[in-house]
């Protein structure tokens, strides 16, 4: 599998004004590479939701995007509080978002379901008090 490109981003803590920067940048690069609009939309949605979750629920983190001929792999790693019950967290409508971010329009509890729906594979590794790593792949 020929690796075409690897992109790395640091997502800073509580920085809502910059939230979505990694997703926008990846979207631009995928457009330049001639990736299909459908695949770009999936990546943009999945990555944005993951990015926002890292800011709201953790303390920021690292994003690694790998683009190959066959697929795009998104790895989002944070050192946040971890997720106690992944099954519950994956349910549409489940959210622990605080009021302060709900007033910004977050907290529908649709982020993780959106990520699941827009990726071909999704894996969550999490440990309470240590952090969470979400890995998603989108086939090209």
């Amino acid at each position: 599998m020929a690796e075409v490109m690897e992109l790395n981003y640091t997502v800073s803590n509580e920085d809502f004004t910059r939230a979505g920067e990694a997703s926008s940048d990846v979207k631009k690069k995928l457009k330049q590479l001639g990736v299909s609009p459908e695949a770009i939309r999936k990546v943009a949605i999945a990555l944005y939701e993951g990015e926002i979750n890292m800011i709201i629920h953790a303390y920021g983190g690292q994003i690694k995007v790998t683009i190959s001929e066959e697929m795009i792999t998104l790895v989002l790693a944070d050192r946040g509080p971890g997720i106690a019950d992944i099954e519950k967290a994956m349910q549409a409508g489940y959210s622990t978002a605080p009021d302060k971010v709900r007033s910004l329009g977050f907290g529908a509890g649709m982020g993780l379901p959106n990520m699941k729906k827009n990726s071909d594979t999704m894996d969550i590794k999490t440990e309470l008090g240590v952090g969470t790593t979400v890995t998603m792949t989108i086939n090209l």
Binding site: F16, T17, A19, G20, S23, S24, K27, P37, R41, A44, I45, Y48, E49, I52, L104, G105, F106, G107, A108, G109, M110, G111, P113, N114, K117, N118
Partner: protein
């Protein structure tokens, strides 16, 4: 209807930059992750949620424009950022449903 034509309608005021892209539908929602998952590309997105995250969602979903309804207040930096990113933003005094209906009837 083209995005710039919305600016010619009495109830809508252009705040950022105009565009000649087509509006192909109307979408209403204030919760960002629902909008993220459901807003159709090319639609006019009517919302009262007026912050930078609205812009991020609009740009990632490729909606045609944002319409801030109910005469909501917002920061001028929002408009500056919209201009920078080339996102068409309008405002209206109309409630969400009325604004959406007006646009839908003009498509």
């Amino acid at each position: 209807m083209k995005v710039y034509e919305l600016g010619n309608m009495d109830d809508f005021e252009l705040l950022s930059i105009s565009k000649d892209t087509d509006i192909t539908g109307v979408f209403c929602c204030d919760l960002l992750s629902i909008a993220m998952g459901k807003a159709p590309a090319g639609s006019a997105w009517v919302t009262v949620m007026a912050n930078v995250n609205t812009l991020a969602v609009a740009s990632l979903t490729d909606v045609a424009c944002i319409i801030l309804a109910e005469d909501v207040t917002f920061d001028n930096s929002l408009i500056e950022k919209a201009k920078e990113e080339g996102i068409a933003v309008f405002k209206t005094k109309k409630p969400i449903f009325d604004a959406a209906l007006l646009i839908n009837n003009s498509l």
